[in-house]
Symmetry: C2
Subunit: 345 residues, 2 copies
Amino acid sequence: MSAERATEAGLVRLARRLAARSGGTGVRVGIGDDCAVLDPTPGAALIATTDLLLEDVHFRRRWAEPADIGWKAMAVNLSDIASMGAEPRWALVALACPAGTRMEEVEAFYAGALALAERHGVALVGGDTSSSPHGWLVNVTVLGETPAPPLLRSTARPGDVVAVTGPLGRAAAGLALLERRAAPRGLNPGILADVTAAHLRPRPRLEEAGWLARAGGVTAMMDLSDGLATDLGRLAAESGVGACVELERLPVDAATRAVARAVGGDATAWATGGGEDYELLLTCAPAEVERLRAGLPAKAGARLSVVGAVVPGPGVRWLDSRGREVAVAAGFEHLSSRTAAGARR
Amino acid sequence: MSAERATEAGLVRLARRLAARSGGTGVRVGIGDDCAVLDPTPGAALIATTDLLLEDVHFRRRWAEPADIGWKAMAVNLSDIASMGAEPRWALVALACPAGTRMEEVEAFYAGALALAERHGVALVGGDTSSSPHGWLVNVTVLGETPAPPLLRSTARPGDVVAVTGPLGRAAAGLALLERRAAPRGLNPGILADVTAAHLRPRPRLEEAGWLARAGGVTAMMDLSDGLATDLGRLAAESGVGACVELERLPVDAATRAVARAVGGDATAWATGGGEDYELLLTCAPAEVERLRAGLPAKAGARLSVVGAVVPGPGVRWLDSRGREVAVAAGFEHLSSRTAAGARR
């Protein structure tokens, strides 16, 4: 059966079977009716986010397997939920793939998405399927909840520090390798696997975000999807403040530096402009840093690094090791440059 | 400014400006942060649906303007919400369009979507934007609520009648005209405008569905997106029953018959297999029909027509005017045949 061509009826049966296994709570009616019927937690705010992933914009089939596509489409949405300090609960997955796609590929896609969803207690409750005239495309919507006020990007205050929850530039290093036809000579295979996984299978910082939200003291938070330069610019603009970042303080790990050396890339540019690291970007009072750093769950490389400060003026300034202002690589815009590393909100 | 190329930043600004105007209630944080933050109505069930519309699968740019695409992407989701007897509240719109798309086209797309959303009190609260390597594509997610138990497709009972809320085959007649390079000779321009609008700008039966849900007596309901044959088959299968339809009772209006004559089409086949009429398909006890017919709001051609009966066995049987069982045109499957009239759940 697994080599059969995907049909819409087959896809719905498959999604339904997988959804029934996916667990989660608060699902009165799941896949199989016109809509999902869900039971929200009384008193909790409802959190909603949606993200589109397109072949040859956000990924290439040459290096992204269906399971990777499913994982990442789920991950980028879960990361948005994490950025509010909320708990993800329900997912709707819309998938279009080309005529001739095999059921086993579609099953692998759902398996990738559900492997991550189940880890975080998220139920697959709905979706849509279609043929696609050109390549794979996925839209995932995730609904979450939070009993506490969500953390926003619009509430940073001058005097706060700017911090991130883990290393930057890893996903860009991974993309640089994935986009090459052959691995560069001399690069450790472990490093190659490590950074390409960072690109293909990002891990949303849900546990860390939940802890930070409960710990208190975080004044603003968002996730790093489009790179620090773009995303910190957004956080500053939404908060009506400016920010100042010391490039030397950016957490760039040894693997990312090794890849930069091997391919002639710029690790700092990847850290500021590469995007898709899905670390949390947050602000807090300087006095809170040690408490938050000490308490942050330290899984999967999470570590709170202060990279700069919130200042009154508009805009983000970048300082080199001598304190001189420099220009940095920023993210890209989808509609003006086609790229395999897409801009995400 | 309107002739400028669409950029991601421009799209986000545009969506935000339009969202701020779009009204709706229960929106604590809308477009501009990582997620929307919404305040559900205490005690209400949350209803969620998502639908993908792709160029050259669900529409062609040759005959669908950006405003039509926006309208229809919203309409098909609102129709899903209607089918549960629920009230739509919030929408997330993900849009990808080709490089070179002008801001005025994107603005027209949102205007089309919001014209319908605003009519039903639905707020635009989030979304995503991307470039597309191949054509326009849209994913809309709509969240609704209902304080009462939602109407399902899985609860029809043998002995019930099968009824629809309006004429069938109109959207297929419209598609048949849109797909032609030139209008057929002798067709009244009013009829042409009427049926093409049925395809391009379907009107979700929200008011009618809300009335039916409150009136009581409806045992099962869904919306007709993929055609009566496919959708009644689904309703029957989900309910563990069969159905029997008398073809003579299908409500096919004069405009649809006129188009069928003009283009050599089969109006009955359009009614059973054309899809995209977005009328409600429902079941109820025979004794309830007159009360429901008399009370149903009679706007935009809505009229309750009994077309058949729910029976014990599995499957749907179709009877001609002499009571003989006949085969009918059914809907299509996306992944096995590429068509401009897409299958919708």
